[in-house]
Symmetry: C2
Subunit: 439 residues, 2 copies
């Protein structure tokens, strides 16, 4: 019976994730065969440096450096696990064109070239599995594309970057600065040597565009929606938020709003005791709301070797069983439906948290309130600590004190106009912080 | 193309869940067709009383009372949504034998006759979809059987009965008695007129056996593991637990323990700030641990019309796409693997919470501690309130005061032996309560 033929895989990349995949396929071969209905065998593994010592033992004749082995007729599926977008994109195209299915964990690639690659796969009647590209071990791609398929998803909000979430947890729990928390994240292996994409919100925004495309059929460009990282947050902000009854999390949001799609990825004040506020360390969580099912939550490790490998292997099993080939052509990945328009950023409506470093003089609060009021933004609450001493250290240098405000609901456009006027106000420093609030 | 042929469904039962399914299939036909790759059409709906006024409008010629319509050649799939086990079992057998696939939300049926029905379906090369039978809208069947298939599940713990969870939440939050909370649950439509199966732990235990069979390949009988309901709990217990840093939830547990399968469904003290402790109202949550993925959490509404209908329709879509036909034969549902032995109840090891109504006399605490000690159970902490007045109301009737203990880890067998001795101790009332603790 042809179904009992092994499924043969060529892997490109044997780094963190690749080694994890090999570990599962080799050590759990019997279980995987049972779950897949046939063996999944590794035909070849392509790396850059074949002499490197690896954490997994592979026979020498499995290791290769020539990417063309992925075209070999003995290969059914190609696993792209090198990262980056240039070579990775070429590999995926080459594999599809050679008639192979593809599994990838590469959100950067799919965010940049997904439209083209998904379309190509569709034309060639091949499938691309990408469960590992979003939220690591949390099976959120499967949830959106299969389990909740009876629903129109109405809202999708998630903590999608484990590194940022670890840093924020570490800062508040251990009372350490942003810089110290980043160093700890690097030591723990969560953050790359250059964690820029994690902490500036790019990685979470990339994952959001993938989820939004699946759930709403709209492909957004990163430039089309507000994106803000955690790199401008002070420990003090986490503490002010705590006092006000909130946790700050890097929250990615895609939501139906009057026939448009509202999108943003920003550090957000989440009211405590909402499930999302309690997600700590490198965990991810996605809250999905569907018109039939209501709210559902999915949570687990968003990155790391074995959780990510778990997702890659589940994609391989789906291909071996033949499910992926049936699911992929039915996904909302090619904008064949009329895509939802993206809500212009200025029209997004929310409450905001504002933190200023302000001159400790009578009238500062009034000046800020006036500027906000003139732009249609009204204040809901405020924290203004008395300065520690009323005696100025120097008559030339007035004391600088923090001023924290929460607004009522207003538009991003109103806030942007207020930002501009606030930048010109001599009573406050220019490096003020503005974050949205999720009540 | 034959794949574009509509999938034709016969439904048996048009109550809470059935009406929800009709609502989704009719109102969201365009979306469902897109997700399923072809239309899903309702061929006929069998009810008991065709004259009853329904919440959904159906053409008269769709409604039938003769179950034999499910055998009609125009039917591809039969949806069993009547509940109960006798007629429901006959319907599923009849449908399978007539060559139809089956979708059901009936955990009681699958728990009682699942072995036979799954085996029959397998032999006849038909699939049974039962996502709605466990945890309503939470796609936990799909998670265990597909998304996490790269993993050996090592532990599976869940709040699986929404009614019990609503009652427990209501008692603590609104400071009301068990009876008042049950009444409220009935008013809200969560609890049946006779909520016995919900509150005595049967419903949760049935769902547990289904999940355990999928995750571990072992079919347990309800008689083989400890099962305890919430119907013996006092509001006072929830408050003592709160004081001690715990929430009490009806927790269903299936876990690998040294090559055996540990199973139980009991009200359990869960340490606060664990995700499971924060699940309130009629929500369900399942915590799965896999050898690769680590811990993952799935949460959402465990019952109710639309969440349950969402799960039924997702099973229908899986059949229309052809995924279910590929997945079902690969599930661990027929004990073809050597099934894990079930850990004898006496060998289960945990900490325990004990609450006594004890005679307020010197030496009571010592007597209890002695009995426990003699059975190898040692005390970790205790709450013993001073009686409100040291003056006895009558010399004949000593005051009865509550005595609350938490033990160190011991076996269920040790606790059972201690129970026996405690029953004979004249210083405490016989209706004492013993609950396991999850730290
Ligand atoms: N790490 C995680 O937790 C995680 C989580 C989710 C998704 N992902 C995604 O998974 C992918 C892989 O990440 P990773 O952390 O495993 O990366 P990694 O540890 O840096 O490994 C990259 C691997 O690719 C190989 N490679 C790089 N360029 C190559 C080329 N041109 N030809 C052949 N081999 C090449 C490297 O070979 P050498 O070993 O010879 O240098 C190395 O084995 C990325 O897309 C990443 O975004 C990672
Ligand atoms: N309700 C929930 O939230 C929920 C959640 C998860 C799973 N479930 C499961 O879903 C199933 C259905 O539950 P439900 O709440 O929808 O039940 P329900 O409201 O009591 O509805 C039962 C339906 O079955 C019909 N019926 C009963 N016996 C019949 C027979 N012999 N022949 C033909 N029709 C018959 C009834 O017909 P008439 O209308 O003519 O009386 C009624 O339409 C049960 O297995 C339940 O455990 C329910």
């Amino acid at each position: 019976m042809s179904d009992q033929q092994p499924m043969r895989v060529a892997m490109v990349g044997l780094g963190t994730v690749g080694s994890g995949v090999i570990k599962i396929l080799f050590e759990q071969a019997e279980r995987i065969t049972r779950r897949a209905g046939r063996p999944i065998v590794v035909e070849s593994v392509v790396v850059r440096d074949p002499t490197k010592v690896r954490s997994v033992n592979l026979a020498d004749d499995l290791i290769d450096t020539a990417i063309d082995v992925i075209e070999h007729p003995d290969v059914d599926v190609v696993c792209e696990l090198i990262g980056g977008t240039t070579t990775a994109g070429d590999i995926v195209r080459q594999a599809l064109q050679a008639g192979k299915h593809v599994v990838t964990a590469n959100k950067a690639l799919l965010c940049e070239q997904g439209d083209e690659l998904f379309q190509l796969a569709r034309e060639l009647k091949r499938a691309i599995g990408f469960e590992a590209a979003v939220a690591g071990g949390v099976p959120i791609i499967e949830a959106v594309s299969q389990s909740l398929s009876a629903n129109q998803i109405t809202s999708l909000e998630g903590i999608l970057n484990g590194t940022s979430n670890f840093i924020l947890t570490e800062m508040l729990d251990r009372n350490v600065s942003y810089e110290d928390a980043v160093a700890k994240a690097q030591k723990k292996g969560y953050a790359e040597a250059d964690p820029a994409m994690d902490v500036d919100g790019t990685d979470a925004a990339q994952k959001l565009t993938l989820l939004a495309q699946l759930a709403f059929g709209t492909k957004a460009d990163l430039k089309q929606f507000p994106r803000q990282g955690i790199d401008k947050l002070d420990l003090a902000d986490l503490k002010y938020a705590d006092t006000l009854g909130y946790r700050i999390k890097l929250l990615a949001v895609a939501r139906l709003a009057d026939g448009s799609l509202e999108l943003h990825t920003q550090p957000t004040l989440i009211r405590k005791y909402q499930p999302m506020a309690d997600v700590d360390d490198a965990y991810n969580m996605i809250e999905l709301e569907g018109d039939a099912v209501g709210k559902t939550w999915f949570s687990g490790m968003g990155a790391g070797q074995m959780p990510t490998a778990s997702a890659v292997v589940s994609d391989l099993i789906d291909l071996a069983v033949g499910r992926a080939q049936k699911t992929f052509p039915l996904l909302d990945l090619w904008q064949s439906q009329k895509p939802l328009p993206i809500l212009p950023a200025d029209e997004i409506k929310r409450r905001y948290y504002l933190r200023f470093h302000a001159v400790d003089e009578p009238g500062t609060m009034a000046a800020v309130a006036n500027i906000l009021g003139e732009n249609g933004v009204s204040i809901a609450s405020c924290i203004q600590h008395e300065s520690e001493s009323s005696v100025k250290t120097s008559p030339k240098e007035p004391k600088i004190v923090p001023l924290v405000l929460m607004t009522h609901i207003c538009t991003e456009g109103q806030m942007k106009a207020a930002d501009k006027a606030l930048m010109e106000c001599s009573r406050i420093k220019k490096n003020f912080l503005r974050l949205p609030i999720r009540d």
